[in-house]
Subunit: 335 residues, 2 copies
Amino acid sequence: MTIREVAKHAGVSVATVSAVINDNKYVSDELKQKVLKAIKELNYRPNRWAKSLATGKGYTIAYIVPDITNPIFSRITKGIQDVANKKNYSVILASTNFDNPTLCRYVDWVLEMRVDGVVFTGRHGSTSMKEIRRLRSAHIPVVIALAPSDITSIDRVLLDDRGSSRTAVDFLKKAKRESIAFVGVRGSTTSHQRYLGYKDEIDGWCEELLSFGEDFTWDDGYAAARALLEQGGKFDGLFAASDIMALGVMACLKEHGYHVPTDIQIMGFDNTYAQWSGQAFASMSIPAFEMGMKAATQLFDRMDETVGEIKNYRLVAELAVPNKGPYAKAIKSLV
Amino acid sequence: MTIREVAKHAGVSVATVSAVINDNKYVSDELKQKVLKAIKELNYRPNRWAKSLATGKGYTIAYIVPDITNPIFSRITKGIQDVANKKNYSVILASTNFDNPTLCRYVDWVLEMRVDGVVFTGRHGSTSMKEIRRLRSAHIPVVIALAPSDITSIDRVLLDDRGSSRTAVDFLKKAKRESIAFVGVRGSTTSHQRYLGYKDEIDGWCEELLSFGEDFTWDDGYAAARALLEQGGKFDGLFAASDIMALGVMACLKEHGYHVPTDIQIMGFDNTYAQWSGQAFASMSIPAFEMGMKAATQLFDRMDETVGEIKNYRLVAELAVPNKGPYAKAIKSLV
DNA sequence: CTGTTAGCGCTTTCAT
DNA sequence: ATGAAAGCGCTAACAG
């Protein structure tokens, strides 16, 4: 079914049909109706490929993401999807598995797809930088969502990890916790920002009490908490750099006879699991969906006008206090 | 950068360049080298749109999914992505939010995109049916992943909910639970299958003890458990139709002074949250990633040959016993 | 206002 | 073994 057949069927020219479809030229009502009728009757749908080839626009953006399975990333994806589809754009997904060679392959592929723009989320580091540059040197607009943040010449939508962490620790302070520990991940930029927020906030309140794992995992949280306990640290509050670590921390503390949150109150970060953890701790909710929307919106702006100043949005995470289950009351009464 | 420029640069014809790129015609080594060199030098990438227009193939499949944010669905997505990309296909996402009008709009859109095939996950019901048919009447191969299962004329990759549920209940029986309750969702096909498995398995072991909620939510799990308690049901084992409900159940039981898993042992289904729930209950792990791979593989088979018998794969969920945290030992020692 | 027509970049016969 | 040329379906001058 081509535009030519529609034209013939309607007894008009292809140009007229095209004009009706795209609504970008004046067409008399009479002809317009004829065309519309023909389109209905023939069940005609314009061919995107031909259109793209002719216009040079693909109506497609890509989201390069480390792992679609991660709840935060999948929410970002959803945000991107929503705004893209509203503009009649498709979004294609490229899930890199945090693997650099895979990332490179995907960038090649995205380049070949001739997408109109890409939203990028990835590891900090030289490979990410390089690949982003490769995209841009092909004149493809890029906006970074969430990370990496160490590249300043590109539009970004970031999370204010440091500020958000202050909110988290402040919550613990308001709950009258006198000694607050921090559990994070060694060598992670994100964890470091969250540590800085912790440090900012406990300044003048209590001593630093730190423990680090190698990764954002349950096991590492568990181990970090045990290390804290074994080195005889005294604390009645603890801020973990992620919910999953907080879960490990909590398990360890309980195992050692502490009651959470009465004896030791925990604060997570992510709010991916806090709400389902038996409601034993509060967390910071990352506005991932909003970040996706913002990133896509900015990408479309950039696609419209290549020039213009670099935009940097920095969203804050929101305090998420459990409101269900047996522990909710306990936590709330502590505040 | 077009194929013509490459041809000129290499001093050959466009046909030769095309042949080299697609490796589908004999080209002398000498010319081949020249062409390859020209491609490198000009940093040439073939244009997908033109290629698609000329060949009639888009090298794209779509995944129509209710909610990319759901862990099960995002894993299916990943499975699909993996196999599609291995074949050099892109996958575009259409997230319907379980909303029928949205679904219709996306089907229109997918039709217009002229994708080569679609994997479909959705609600049971007439709208899903209708939209799937619409896709097929446009000669687009479709394979259903996970649901709906009430349409038999299409390739499907399903979960054996009933059989898997038997495994779940069997686990409880092996743990010497004498009276096992079931918590499910009223009106859900999936929940009903899981109930059937429960029923199969407790037959001759104990009485049916049932409680239903309106949806797969924490609150409904909580409420269902309370109903069970209030109606004076005695049980030392409980099978919930989903992990999220199991979490609600657990909160309720604990609140009422029961110890989980000692007093009452819970079994979930999904394994999305069981592992992070303080490890208090076991669950059935849905092979979502595998389902995605299988669905995509089947889709490609179907794309290759339109005819052939309808395939129906039915995967089983695997028992997932927590192996971390304080409760793990407790559960395991009970088995 | 409407129609004709020349591309968009690639594939693919069909000659040579 | 290689090349010329005719489309694929659409858009956008341009002509009428």
